[in-house]
Amino acid sequence: MLATTLQAARSQMAFTLGFHIILASLGVALPALMLIANYRGLRHQDADALRLAQRWSKAVAVTFAVGAVTGTVLSFEFGLLWPAFTGRFGGVFGVLFAIEGICFFLEAIFIAIYIFGWKRLSPWAHFWTGVPVVITGLGGAFSVVAVNSWMNQPQGFSPTTGKVTSVEPWKVIFNPAVPYEVPHMILAAYLVTGFLVASIYAVGMLRGRRDRIHRLGLLIPLTVACIATPIQFAVGDTAARAIAKDQPIKFAGMECVQKTSTDVTEYIYGRCTSSGVKGGIGIPGFDSFLVGWSTSTKVIGLDSVPPDDRPPDNTMLHWAFDTMVGICTVLILLALWLGIGWWRKKDFPQSRWFLRATAVSGVASIVALECGWIVTEVGRQPWIVYNVMRTSDAVTKASGIWVTFGLIVGLYVALGVTLVVALRAMSRRWRSEDFPDEPGPYAPEASPPPDLAAGARG
């Protein structure tokens, strides 16, 4: 019974977080794209760029409103799914969420001011009201990811068994995993948002809409994403090496390393079994090399801990890791393509193949994002707090999680579909008319609708 409750709770958490992480990434990075377009529009008197900034600000509002809902659900789930975890460690990591709360609040306020300010503030004052949105997005991302980092590298509390009686907040906030996990997630947000937005305009251009709005709408986000991608590759590489040191069992799971040894083969895909990797492409000694720049580096294997302490779903973990790295590698090639094209012709490559690649990059980067999330979360199992608390000890003893999981899946699918439909409808309206002022969440309606008062007279 408890096993199934645990499975249900993990499924629900994975699903709701996997959903939220996309919206959260958009919430962090889309405001930056919006401001870049806004800056360009003001600086170079570029009407098309301003128009893009205004459209993207509407998309920011809708995705932020939905992200706020899915974020609230997550805050409930800390208690509904993992009461023993939050009951024991809420006082340790909670302050980070309090900081996140401030950032979230400020982000909501400044999104409202920015959207409100389109026709009511002077252009540059309006631009500056957007800057806090970007900063608070980064602050919120830092706080939330720092909590996840702490779950991977817990410190700053004592005792490590039983009720926590003392906390050192600075040690909690700046735990050893923060320096690589936080930049990795923030870069992921910019990368995913950049490729996603660019892919939408690439699809438009493939359908023959080659106007300047589309070209600019492709170029701004694609440039941001293509700058982020190689940096992300380096940060991710650093993170993997740090994990090999700090969480060797997670790393062993990611790379299917069964036995501790030197000259460990790096396998690309393949099936993980207790007697080694079946199938896949093996590169002898390369795994050791990646960990310590030498094939004689010792890599710790899964056999160093009892089976109960090893992550489950080994093959899935390994595939998720390889897929993430693989997609990032391909996206670097796309970035090179753009870079060379720009260097030679001061424009992005005009071939349909380039547009097709860009059109696919959005979905591909989301897949990479989800794979990365699987790596860090499944790789930490069976621990919720690494080497301190087991996930099975954290889960609620309440029953009925399969029911809430089912409801949430249904609801979120509807929510996701509606979000996409709403955004597409917005984009259609933008194309079809020289679009008038469009209502949306956070849009000011400071003056009452005229017929309210008119009706009173009649």
């Binding site: 809902v69 800390f78 309090a98 400020l106 907040p169 008062a453």
Partner: protein, 350 residues
């Protein structure tokens, strides 16, 4: 004041703000649902849409604030509440998803059927969410939430007369707050017929709320003697103040003097929340867990208080800026309604 008590005060402050502003929004959803169909419902609903406007999200943040302060400052209470009361809290969360989705999409949906669906979700969820939150408070006040992971009864802890009455009281209070707020909004919108429409509803919901509060006291006396005695004892001044505020609102509404009605209505609700807190002091979960016993280590409480201080210093000015801009704009546009349609000379309007 000890730091656990200070954090408890912060918690109650957040709960009060959420109850007043969030409550008014829930109530507005209820009136939108009850407005009916067709032409008759159009104008009240328009007023409600306009009144909820852009600030909804800001109100919603207070709930997250309360949850985070609870789990950070009083982790064991959080564990007890969220595990024993899994069912009503799941349903409240479900309501929040529906409501939030309704909010996010009711402005973007252009087709009437889509809009109607968004409005329906918004309305039903606006009733369910405060109701289940009320049953949660009833369970806590009734001493049915023991410390531990799902240590209490998953059903009878919140499905009992006290919880049901308090759930109903929450819905009625939201309706009452919203009606009083909407009276002022109708006046701002210069729609006297809607002003009367919501005066009537404010009066009715005030009477219902009062009756439910009285019923709640009777049930409380039999079921949760500790809290009842507290309300009769230390919390009595707050109870009296609440009744006085509530009565004054009725008088003001009857006399068409609406200035001050909003503040007094909010005051009446705030007094009840604080009366409850005082009545069950020093317990967080009456007779099960005290504030001091549930409190996090002192470094955590101090950080929490510092973060709260920073929040007050940073968020309030930002919120002030938003409201100032909206109000200034309102003043200008009320004077010259056509200004709404003129773009800023330097800014392109897409």
């Amino acid at each position: 004041m000890s730091s656990p008590t200070a954090v408890a005060v912060v918690l109650w402050t957040g709960a009060t703000i959420y109850a007043v502003f969030g409550g008014a929004d829930f109530g507005a959803g209820l009136w939108s649902l009850l407005a009916g169909r067709g032409d008759r419902a159009r104008r009240p609903r328009e007023l409600i849409d306009w009144a909820i406007g852009p600030v909804w999200e800001a109100n919603h943040v207070w709930l997250i604030f309360v949850i985070v302060v609870l789990w950070t400052g009083f982790s064991s209470a959080f564990e007890a509440i969220f595990s024993t009361l899994f069912i009503p809290l799941s349903l409240a969360a479900l309501g929040i998803v529906l409501r939030g989705s309704g909010f996010a999409f009711q402005h973007t949906a252009r087709r009437p059927s889509g809009r109607a669906l968004a409005v329906a979700f918004f309305g039903v969820a606006s009733v369910l969410t405060p109701f289940f939150m009320g049953t949660v408070i009833g369970a806590i006040a009734g001493g049915r939430v023991p410390v531990g992971n799902a240590a209490g009864d998953p059903v009878t802890s919140w499905l009992n007369p006290l919880s049901l009455v308090i759930g109903a009281l929450f819905v009625a209070t939201c309706a009452y707050l919203a009606a009083v707020f909407l009276v002022s909004d109708a006046r701002r919108a210069r729609a006297p017929d809607l002003e009367q429409y919501f005066v009537n509803r404010a009066l009715v919901s005030a009477i219902v709320t009062g009756a439910l509060a009285a019923a709640g006291l009777v049930v409380l006396r039999n079921d949760a003697r500790f809290v009842f005695d507290g309300l009769k004892g230390d919390a009595l001044p707050l109870v009296i103040l609440s009744v006085v505020c509530g009565g004054a609102v009725l008088v003001l509404l009857r006399r068409n003097a609406r200035r001050g009605a909003r503040v007094l209505a909010a005051g009446a609700v705030a007094c009840v929340i604080w009366a409850w807190g005082v009545a069950q002091h020093p317990y967080l979960l009456p007779q099960k867990l005290t504030i001091a016993a549930a409190a996090a280590p002192s470094a955590t409480l101090k950080s929490l208080l510092i973060v709260f201080g920073v929040a007050v210093l940073v968020v309030l000015p930002a919120l002030g800026l938003l409201f100032t801009l909206v109000q200034r704009n309102l003043v200008r546009e009320t004077a010259a309604p056509t200004a709404h349609d003129k773009p800023h000379p330097d800014t392109l309007r897409g």
